[in-house]
Subunit: 715 residues, 2 copies
């Protein structure tokens, strides 16, 4: 019988494909404003198959309008090679997304291959978060629900026309000089290539505008993440070979000098084996880990532990996971089959019992993203041809590995009713509700800034970490960017001392401090204090992310899609509803800033600027380069050094604009648990009417986090 | 019925894969010393499916020994994702090949993805000649007969072991500092990933040694190419916007100044449309092309024409090829379905009637290799999802496009009984017998040198072209490399004047010559004269390539596989049997040279060196940095400015070594036709015995190309 079937299959294989080609596209409403198109046999291991439940009520509450095309205008074809999807594209649409892209922003006119990798590889599309997803200024988003390596031709793959003289396609360049001057193959489709697939699902997130489409994607993924309040403070990762004593000393340094810090991170050597991981404390450096955890807790520090998900033979998890892992090793360790729920649960259960239950506040998953470079050795991670017990292949596991780690680890923190913010080096679609910040070894400052607005298209949290620098000024500029991002992180895994005492790596490790170390330290403290002032505002922005899907950090084009001047602006971005950040790089104290329509205020000088044009602005290193939109009520807290259950913020409200009526909200809860999901929170309405401020508190949370102390109008 | 079959297929798809996995590997002797393993359903469009006939007699004449493993030790598995091949690898084997690799040489320990591209993309494996093929110092070669994008893990993909403490895999690094210091996943297999395939053929080329394995591959492909003798002279490509008058002027410059030159190349603007191509003379610049061809022929110049294979709507070929092309355009032009023989014939027939029959000696196929960069526009070339009438997909067409162009064009030159040497930017496996030199826009001089030994592993001809430079010295060093390569090519497509009059592009185009232009020109002439002296020796080396498959340009490891010191040497190489070239780069006149076992002579100083160690050698820009192996008879000709039917070389023989007995051969034929394949050639045996030289001429060629004038012993 088997032979007969085999014979039949081989005989009719081409015919079978023809049948597939002729298959009908089926379309359903997956959620309000979310259409799902399906063709053929759908892969088992798609990003959506692992997604959390959609926020259906919030989706229904969004304004609703159709995409500029009928979903049925999307063409889907199954070929012998895979699936091809063609999505209509008008001449003036601009496209953004594809996850955490590095070195590209507006993706129109590019070919993108969002494949998980630690290196952007000349802008091919390789990224830490390879999302098969984009949004359009046309007011919609598209998600190709696949974990396969997929290529998007963003209006660049032009078909042969029946009429050879059709204006489609480039002019007839006569030489490469002409040619490279700009002519490109032009197409009114985004063409998507999904080799290996024999069926596909396409999600269409409707507008009416790009911002709503992004909200819709985020809410369909389950809504944004509300990190614990302490995660909005300062995180500092200590040198990899620090002992418990050195960690205590570093904690004491922060408190003695009144420098804000909420989290200390330990790097590889806290374990007995790290590449791959044992998940066992290295007792030479840390003879009594529980003492460390408890003492630091008393000083209001959280601890975050570095790890891989690759399980070393020395690990207690090894024998348990051996039959639940892929058939190839990474750094001698197992690759757990995270596509399998039991495997995820076992991995998480060990982490819960051994670490989380004992007070470890979070983890950092390093090098889960594959590499083409790996410092000369060609690659790390498992090969794409790996096989896993669940049936997922190595290619799809690559794309999903970081995402599934998040899913595993967040289950355990939810079980403990304790929120966290993980650090991860890989993610994918439907990660919006996962409390994890992406980071990268790519260290170019302009790229780090660009990734902040890029993160907002795709429901991601991006953490542009500060390491060493080439000057004090660069160090301070990088610190500013960290302060103006979702997570303020110093990664000193190879630095004996904080980088603000010595920006140069070699000198830092020889304890040679800069002559002006104390002045630079004071400036850093000033910048970090601004961060702490901003926590209530940021916390509210994340609450809006959770409840309404509005990304707290957004490109200008998200808020101003009609303004063509912002289509390419990737070095400015919105924070919450009222703040525009324009970070500086290098050693200059000037930069160009474009301000969109409306009026804006320089936060530092309080000078008013008319929008719709660019300005050369000056910014000193001790002030944050931010502008505030007219009509904003900006609640700013008296800075604290950390937050804990007892923290109450004293808040001054600044009102930007003369004789305006304006309002904002603050989100008030315990700051650390999931109780708010059961309604255990307050909303503070802060409104300004006729020269007077009003506070209205509604909700069920029975303690106080915010005290509004004053109001000030800025004209 | 169709529905029933469809139902059956969907039902048993996983089962069918299980059946495939269980399938037997079949093994046949494809030719003497060439084994072919097959599993499953073989793709229709493999490189081998387009190959020329093997040189069976020459294969049988090779010494014969088995590979260090049984071919049956190769494991092949068909999975849901594709095919996985595992080839045994011992600890001390070194691997080379994968086509024209750029920036990598010894491939052991690397992951390589030989995919056609104009850019090496951080050494992922992208290349102009993406061959799924490697050779081993173990004395064998492996070719995976696929046109799909394939990944080779060269001993880097380690499986999980039953015994977790097995020494396989890296040590337990504690930090990335430890880790990146060198530990790698180690495996005793080369693991090959061929996604999308449902069957595969693997060819094993047996030794006994690596050199014989390479010969065997080359002979199985049909034997090497013997270019026309004029192609071993100097080729000069003129500025893209030159008119006929400017071309004449350039030709006159060469002859007036006695600077050797055989070929002038015209760049894009000779056509009415170039990006894509019309294949129609641009009569504004060239009002009477036949006059140009004829006049230059009288001055003993050949003409080579630049082109794409992308057919512009303005081309007479457009309507003919429209139904024979892919469904996507490139630069507005058709992509002919070269996998179809009729399409190749039609493309070639037009070129024959319009150009070759009228005296055009050759073509240059540009930008047939895809790009990930394309100067910011994201990509050129057709998408992988393209469909073609023959049934080949875009991915496989990408890999084969340059190869199939060569096949098409060489058919026409064979039909005219006129040999040529094309320039191409893409090739693949089984290209050995095709008369085409690869070139690249990658312009780093060390990479250009490395590609010379790399070409020899894979049956390719590499042409490191000279453009502009940053100094006179660099220009002369690049000229030396060009002289010491398969094709000596100056590509001045953007230079008004020869680069030796002004190396700086801007000044060159403003006709601002260097103060020492005449001195540099004299040095270039001296170097090119050396090239012309070497033609008989080179021509014989190519004849050995044709008849025995010995690559004329080879890495040292090919001739000295037992010498571990040469495993990584990629900046020296053998030319023919007796010459070792060690080109210099940059502005220094010194470099380290490793000389393998035996004795060697500096060609210039005639100083003798003992091999098996390195020396710091000095080389001035007017002398070629070459060493001659003891025991070599080196026939050197009195330089000519060009070759034609009447050319007779006056030859002095140098004999390297004291009191030795030695011999070499020269290959004598008409130099331009295929008549030699019918035996119409002579072999000159040049032997040295007891202090006296002997010439013995055998064969059927009835004219004289070589006159041996003198002998000299060098001790």
């Amino acid at each position: 019988m088997k032979k007969l079937i085999y014979f039949l299959v081989v005989l009719i294989f081409p015919g079978w494909l023809q049948i597939c080609q002729a298959q009908q596209v089926s379309m359903v409403n997956a959620a309000p404003g979310v259409k799902k198109l399906s063709v053929g046999s759908i892969d088992k291991f798609t990003p959506q198959s692992f997604a959390e439940a959609p926020s259906r009520q919030a989706l229904a509450d969004l304004p609703h309008d159709k995409a500029p095309f009928q979903a049925s205008d999307i063409r889907i074809k199954v070929t012998a090679r895979g699936v091809v999807v063609e999505i209509p594209l008008t001449d003036d649409e601009q496209l953004y997304g594809f996850g955490m892209q590095i070195n590209s922003f507006n993706q129109r006119g590019l070919r993108k291959r969002p494949i998980v990798n630690d290196n952007p590889l000349n802008n091919v599309g390789y990224t830490h978060a390879p999302m098969p997803y984009y949004v359009s200024t046309g007011g919609y988003g598209i998600l190709i629900n696949t974990s396969r390596y997929t290529t998007f031709y963003c209006g660049t793959a032009a078909k042969v026309k029946d009429n050879a003289n059709a204006p489609d396609g480039p002019k007839n360049a006569q030489s490469v000089n002409d040619l490279y001057g700009g002519s490109k193959a032009a197409s009114n489709y985004v063409t998507v290539d999904i080799p290996g697939a024999i069926g596909i699902e396409v999600f269409v997130f409707e507008g009416p505008d790009m911002r709503t489409a992004i909200q819709r994607y985020n809410l369909f993924a389950g809504g944004g993440v509300l990190p614990p309040m302490w995660a909005l403070g300062v995180k500092y990762r200590v040198k990899a070979d620090f002992s418990a004593g050195q960690v205590y000393k570093m904690a004491k340094y922060f408190r003695d000098n009144n420098i804000p810090c909420d989290v200390l991170g330990l790097e590889p050597e806290w374990q007995t084996a790290a590449y791959s991981c044992s998940y066992v404390w290295n007792n030479k450096l840390f003879p009594n880990p529980q003492n460390l955890i408890d003492s630091l807790k008393q000083s209001n520090f959280k601890i975050n532990l570095w790890e891989h998900a690759f399980v070393n033979p020395k690990s207690p998890l090894y024998n348990q996971l051996k039959s639940r892992s892929g058939n190839y090793q990474v750094w001698g360790g197992l690759v757990p089959d995270f596509a399998d729920q039991t495997t995820r649960n076992q991995f998480a259960a060990y982490h819960k019992a051994t670490f989380a239950d004992k007070g470890i506040a979070g983890f950092k998953l390093d090098e889960c993203d594959n590499s083409n470079l790996a410092y000369g050795s060609g690659t790390w991670s498992f090969p794409e041809l790996s096989e896993f017990p669940s049936g997922i292949d190595g290619e799809q596991m690559h794309q999903l590995f970081g995402l599934l780690y998040q899913k595993a680890m967040l289950t355990l923190y939810r079980a403990n009713n304790t929120r966290t913010l993980l650090d991860v080096r890989a993610s994918n679609a439907f990660a919006t509700p996962y409390a994890a910040a992406l980071y990268s070894d790519i260290y170019e400052h302009p790229a780090y800034i660009q990734m902040i607005p890029n993160s907002g298209f795709s429901g991601l949290i991006w953490s542009p970490e500060v390491r060493e620098s080439s000057s004090s000024t660069e160090l301070l500029r990088r610190t500013q960017t960290a302060v103006l991002s979702a997570q303020t992180l110093f990664n000193s895994w190879y630095l004996q001392n904080p980088p603000w005492l010595q920006y140069d790596k070699g000198k830092n490790n020889r304890n040679e401090f800069m002559a002006d170390a104390k002045e630079v330290e004071a400036t850093v403290k000033q910048l970090l204090n601004f961060r702490m002032s901003l926590i209530p505002y940021l916390y509210n922005a994340f609450a809006q992310y959770k409840l309404k899907g509005v990304p707290p950090f957004r490109a200008l084009v998200v808020d101003y899609p009609a303004d063509k001047n912002v289509y390419g602006i990737d070095n400015e971005y919105m924070i919450g509803e009222g703040i525009l950040a324009a970070p500086l790089t290098g050693n200059s104290n000037q930069r160009e800033v474009y301000l969109p329509q409306g009026n804006w205020y320089d936060y530092n000088t309080e000078q008013k600027y008319a929008g719709g044009r660019s300005y050369t602005i000056t910014n000193q290193t001790d002030k944050l380069p931010v502008f505030v939109k007219e009509g904003t009520v900006l609640p700013l807290a008296k800075p604290v050094q950390f937050t804990n259950a007892a923290t109450v913020f004293d808040i001054d409200c600044r009102v930007y604009g003369q004789n305006i009526t304006a309002a904002t909200t603050l989100f008030e809860d315990d700051g650390t648990t999931y109780s708010f999901e059961k309604g255990n929170y307050n909303t503070l309405n802060l409104s300004w009417q006729k020269g007077k401020g009003y506070v209205k508190r509604t909700g069920n949370y029975n303690a106080l986090k915010y005290r509004i102390k004053s109001w000030r109008e800025i004209r």
